[in-house]
């Protein structure tokens, strides 16, 4: 049982308000992997240690001012100052530093084979899966999936601004720097959904640069990756066909790629399997009809300074057809 759940159990009404950050898909206090578990342990030890030190310090202060007010000799006073004021903090801080440093190499341990390259864009995530031995990546966007029970290597960079990739429930954060490649490895254990967020202020829509992260059983992950590598499904209904025509006529394919079609743009997110993702526009909307229509018509109202222009000249029927086509891209 995590520390938050224990505290919540003590007081079912008031404390949950204070402990809102403890639970949920984006909490470092609900670890879903080895790296986050290490950081969680570090946090708990530091917290308990801080509480013990606080109690001890105030207890001694109370004792010597209220209970035992005797004068100390200079020698005795000096011993207390040197012991409690110099040696104790030096040893405690040194021990914590040594422990923290000893954890760092394991957070950078080599991966077990799968490499995921993530590029921070404005303000979304370009995601490329490189399974062992692959010659070309399987391209996706705004969602990162991991196989449970193995260590995955994340190779990170950025296009224009510095970003930082952080999935609090899976591990620590790592900067994404234009022109450089940084490496983070994660070892998720618990299957489920976790939320990630850009953790470095990167401009107007920084707060809306998030993503869903999914940890899957290894077999499920392999099946999902094989599906992700396949080309997009063809439009089936007349409405979807009309939506594809609008996609073509409006020039969407100049920026977005949909594999298996003539659309090969690489400026914006790959949309080949958009409908199989759990969020739209980098973690801020749902992949469903209304949100798709709203996003296409009002991009910059929803996400300031985003590169995609708002297609507000499309009428409701055209937007619905376009959304229907995008919804078919599973």
């Amino acid at each position: 049982m995590s520390i938050c759940r224990r505290i919540r159990a003590l007081h079912p009404v008031a404390l949950p308000l204070l402990l809102g950050g403890c639970d949920g898909p984006q909490s470092a206090l609900r670890p879903g992997g080895q790296d986050a578990a290490q950081l969680y342990l570090l946090f708990v030890v530091m917290l308990v240690g801080a509480v013990v030190l606080w109690l001890a310090l105030n207890g001694l202060f109370f004792y010597f001012t209220r209970v035992n007010q005797q004068q100390f000799s200079l020698r005795h006073g000096n011993r207390i100052i040197i012991g409690a004021g110099v040696i104790l903090p030096t040893v405690v801080v040194g021990s914590l530093l040594a422990w923290g440093l000893s954890i760092m190499p394991s957070q950078r341990a080599p991966g077990d084979g799968l490499v995921i390259r993530v590029t921070g864009e404005e303000w979304w995530w370009r995601v490329e899966y490189w399974p062992p031995g692959a010659d070309a990546p399987i391209v996706s966007a705004n969602e990162i999936r991991f196989p449970a029970g193995s260590r995955t290597e994340l190779r990170l960079t950025a296009r224009t601004y510095i970003h930082s990739l952080w999935i609090p429930s899976l591990g620590g954060k790592m900067d994404m720097i234009p022109g450089r490649e940084t490496v983070l490895t994660l070892h998720p254990d618990l299957e489920g959904f976790y939320r990630g967020q850009c953790a470095e202020f990167c401009g107007a829509s920084h707060a809306m640069m998030a993503f869903e992260s999914v940890v899957m059983a290894p077999d499920d992950f392999d099946a999902w990756l094989a599906h992700e590598a396949a080309p997009a499904s063809r439009p089936q209904t007349p409405m979807q066909v009309r939506g594809q025509d609008i996609f073509r006529d409006e020039g969407c394919g100049a920026c977005h790629a949909i594999r298996g079609t003539e659309f090969t743009g690489s400026v914006g997110p790959d949309l080949t399997h958009l409908a199989s993702r759990h969020s739209l526009a980098a973690g801020i909307m749902e992949v469903e009809r209304d949100d798709l229509m709203r996003w296409i018509a009002h991009t910059r109202d929803i996400k300031p300074q985003v590169a995609m222009p708002p297609y507000d000249w499309l009428d409701a029927e055209e937007l619905a057809a376009l959304a229907a086509y995008l919804e078919s891209l599973e």
């Binding site: 110099v86 030096t90 801080v93 040194g94 530093l97 040594a98 440093l101 000893s102 760092m104 190499p105 950078r108 490496v183």
Partner: protein, 133 residues
């Protein structure tokens, strides 16, 4: 010989004391300066090494260099601390009042202690981390 009528201290005594105090003031800054340069060399050295050579060549040389630099810095700080201690608490002192000379020695000793700890903390990452990642 002219001097201060109130204290009875001559100009020559005054100048000698001032010269001694100036030397002590410089010595006060010595240990923190060693700490600062050790910090600078360790961090700049690691950054340049990792940028130019990276992990493939191993970072044994970098870690050994930091270890060597650390030993030198600690020896210099320990020596400075010992001198400061002698200045603060000479064998023949029996008064409880610190003159400026002894006060400067006391301050230099405390700065040596904190610089020693600082140098150890700065060097600790090289002890645990074996790659540029």
């Amino acid at each position: 010989m002219k001097g201060d009528r109130v204290t009875g201290i001559s100009h020559r005594q005054d100048q000698d004391e001032f010269r001694g105090a100036t030397g002590s003031l410089f010595r006060i800054a010595l240990a923190p300066t060693i700490w600062a340069f050790h910090f600078l060399f360790c961090y700049a050295g690691a950054a340049v090494w990792c940028a130019k050579f990276g992990t493939p060549g191993g970072i044994a040389f970098l870690r050994l260099s930091i270890a060597g630099l650390t030993v030198l810095a600690l020896l210099a700080i320990a020596w400075q601390g010992w001198r400061s201690y002698r200045q603060w608490a000479p064998h023949d002192h029996d008064d409880h009042v610190e003159g400026s000379h002894r006060f400067l020695g006391h301050a230099a000793l405390l700065l040596s202690v904190i610089s020693f700890v600082g140098v150890v903390y700065v060097a600790m990452p090289a002890l645990f981390i074996g790659s540029c990642l």
